[in-house]
């Protein structure tokens, strides 16, 4: 019998989910898990209703509210914004009517859809996972094929549990060696996007590999995969290993006992075969990655914290030069300014990129015994109610509150300027989220993307600082 061609992690998951291949090469791909939230689903459920269709696999579907909701106490007394309330009530009506499992706003497991999937043990290796949300790529950290879809496709998955998809190309990003002191998963992914650009992954699924990726905990791996979409990739993924399996063992809804052992046997077959072919490969040396800060209005406009604001006049390409000028104007920056001289008005630690317990521990380690600088609004928004509970059990909320941070309820919060948490025009933020687009955190807001440690240090100093100089060494123990 001929040797089977070596396959990548992506190839293996893809092959295992093709229901049928249509004559033009399009695959009917089976979807194992469909996560849903209040913003991109109302029209999809409407479509089902109009056609008299049902949700094919409610047991493979999970709904939660995260985008639109307030992250303060007001959520307990009812949502005040009428449009947000209607979207949430609509989701609640739909999940009841169609029998979809739902985590309500006041449930302690409520949280950002991309935090709760892995945390609850619903997102597992080898799965195909979709959600009407581009940051579905996060779940690729579990060793799954996970990607965002549009509203018609949401309806398609609800009705058929499948999607019509053309295969993607394989790309591997190898991050070799060890991360230096004070550097994190966020710095890895920002450095990767800085290197390959916001369209660098177009048409590809990225597999992240190498020692520095292997060394990351699950939270770090989710941070990396989360921002794959910011590199233009269809999805990002990391091969499952002992770190993954240990994580799943501790989840409430992951397979247990014999089912776990059976699953484990299949999960162990998933990593890319030696000699598997990637259409494209990129290598980074982990020890060369410094703490990163974005200076512009897309995640590719990023520099090490030791850098200075670039000068558009030094950019030879006319179109790029014009774009840089626009970015500097919007961001209120002058060429040559040191990034460490930029004062911040708001510090936001949260979002599906960086709101897990590990992120909050990293922030608390920096601020312990210190105070938020005068005039800075600093907030920590846990990614889920369970993260919040864990942080409180560890006393992290006390450390953060005593330093002057707001300690809030779980949700997307200031990541996207759709709920009450917004930047005001002209305000500069150090944010652990994933998009620094114009107006993303509120009209006129100026976002700088950083790691949780960098954000926490900026809150204390009142301006960006190199966390490597700032971090007490013992905090890393």
């Amino acid at each position: 019998m001929p040797e089977r061609k070596p396959r990548t992690l992506f190839d293996k998951i893809w092959d295992a989910h093709v229901v049928e291949t249509l004559p033009d090469g399009t695959a009917l791909l089976y979807i194992d898990l469909h996560l849903t939230h209040e913003v991109t689903t109302p029209q999809a459920f409407d479509g089902l209703r109009a056609a008299g269709r049902r949700v094919r696999r409610p047991d493979a579907t999970l709904a939660v509210v995260d985008h639109n909701i307030a992250t303060d106490e007001s959520r307990r007394t009812g949502i005040t914004d009428p449009e947000s309330r209607l979207q949430v009530e609509t989701l609640e009506r739909n999940v009841r009517e169609f029998g979809v499992p739902y985590i309500p706003l006041l449930d302690e497991r409520q949280g950002i859809v991309h935090v709760i999937g892995p945390e609850l043990g619903r997102s597992l290796p080898g799965m195909t996972i979709v959600c009407g949300d581009s940051h579905t790529s996060t779940h690729g950290a579990m060793g799954a094929l996970a990607f965002g879809i549009g509203t018609s496709e949401v309806e398609h998955v609800l009705a058929t549990q499948t999607l019509l998809q053309k295969p993607a190309r394989n790309m591997r990003v190898l991050v070799e060696g060890n991360l230096a002191f004070g550097c994190t998963a966020k710095d890895i992914i920002l450095a990767i996007i800085g290197r390959i650009g916001t369209a660098g992954g177009t048409g590809h699924v990225i597999e992240y590999a190498g020692d520095a990726i292997r060394a990351l905990d699950m939270a770090g791996r989710m941070t990396v995969c989360n921002m794959s979409i910011e590199a233009g990739a269809r999805a990002g993924m990391i091969a499952p290993d002992e770190t993954t399996f240990e994580y799943i063992r501790r989840t409430p809804l992951g397979p247990k006992g014999e089912a776990f052992e059976r699953a484990l046997a299949w999960w162990r077959t998933l990593p890319s075969d030696p000699g598997a072919r990637f259409d494209r490969e990129v290598r980074l040396a982990a020890h060369e990655i410094a703490p990163q800060v974005t200076w512009g209005t897309n995640p590719e406009a990023v520099l090490p914290i030791t850098g200075t604001v670039p000068d558009p006049e030094e950019e030879p390409d006319e179109a790029k030069r014009a774009q840089m000028r626009r970015m500097l104007e919007y961001m209120g920056l002058t060429p040559g300014q040191r990034l460490t001289d930029l004062k911040v008005d708001v510090v936001f630690i949260g979002s599906c990129t960086n709101s897990r317990i590990e992120d909050i521990r990293a922030a608390a380690a920096i601020v312990k015994g210190r105070k938020v600088a005068e005039g800075v609004r600093a907030m920590v928004v846990p990614g889920s109610g369970l993260v919040k509970k864990q942080a409180e059990a560890e006393g992290l909320d006390r450390i953060l509150r005593e330093a002057g941070f707001e300690w809030r309820e779980a949700g997307c919060s200031m990541c996207l300027g759709m709920n009450p948490d917004k930047l005001r025009p002209g305000q500069r933020s150090a944010s652990t989220s994933n998009r620094n687009f114009e107006g993303r955190q509120g009209p006129g807001g100026r976002t700088h993307l950083v790691s949780p440690a960098m954000a926490a240090a900026a809150a204390i100093a009142g301006h960006f600082v190199d966390v490597r100089d700032y971090q007490p060494r013992e905090a890393l123990a």
């Binding site: 229901v19 194992d32 269709r53 009705a159 549990q161 776990f260 699953a263």
Partner: protein, 203 residues
């Protein structure tokens, strides 16, 4: 999805190129929770003045074009954002066919998903059809998908091309979902196999 076989109706002339989806429906109207009702906001920036009153100069505010079912425009119709709200708005207004020399890719796909037929015809043909449309209520066009022809008021027939699979879906009123459900047996078989091999994926 409503099948599209033959449509005879009033055609509205919109002699513009690069009509983008932001023009078709501005972003501020995307907060609604249903697919219905976007017709009110179709071309909102053209149709309404700042005080909210109708702009009588815009074609869709004029008789008989308020009842238009066909829209004729120029190159690159539907460019810009991928919002599916654009075809939703056209459909809700009553437009089921757009005729133009070229379409933006995503919009073109989205039309088929929503029972709208985009017809590609050369610029000079579109100009002639636009003349027909300007004749008003007596100048109905017929778009016959079965025979793949547009019939002018003078009886002249203009053939057009359309992807055979998509034509099949439209003629039969099958959306992607309807199409996929024809593979229901294969999906059932896949699930049976997967359930046996990976029971932890099933509740």
């Amino acid at each position: 999805m409503k099948p599209f076989t033959t449509l005879t109706g009033i055609a509205a002339p919109l002699p513009r190129a690069n009509v983008d989806t932001d023009q078709i429906i501005p972003a501020r109207f995307l907060k609604a929770i249903t697919r219905a009702g976007f017709g009110r906001h179709l071309f909102a920036n053209f149709r309404y003045r700042e005080d909210g009153s109708e702009n009588p100069d815009f074609v869709l505010n004029q008789e008989p074009y308020r009842r238009a079912e066909i829209l004729i425009a120029f190159e690159n119709f539907g460019c810009g954002s991928s919002r599916e709200h654009a075809p939703w708005a056209l459909l809700d207004f009553g437009i089921r066919c757009v005729i133009a020399p070229s379409f933006a890719d995503i919009f073109h796909n989205n039309c088929f998903k929503n029972g709208i037929l985009p017809v590609k015809l050369p610029r000079e043909v579109c100009e002639r059809l636009m003349e027909d449309a300007r004749m008003g209520g007596n100048a109905r066009l017929t778009v016959d998908l079965e025979r793949q022809v547009v019939v002018r008021p003078n009886g002249e027939e203009i053939p057009f091309e359309v992807d055979p699979l998509r034509r099949h879906l439209l003629l039969n009123g099958l959306d992607d979902i309807g199409q996929t459900l024809q593979h229901a047996a294969a999906i059932d078989a896949f699930e049976a196999k997967q359930r046996a091999a990976q029971p932890w994926l099933y509740a």
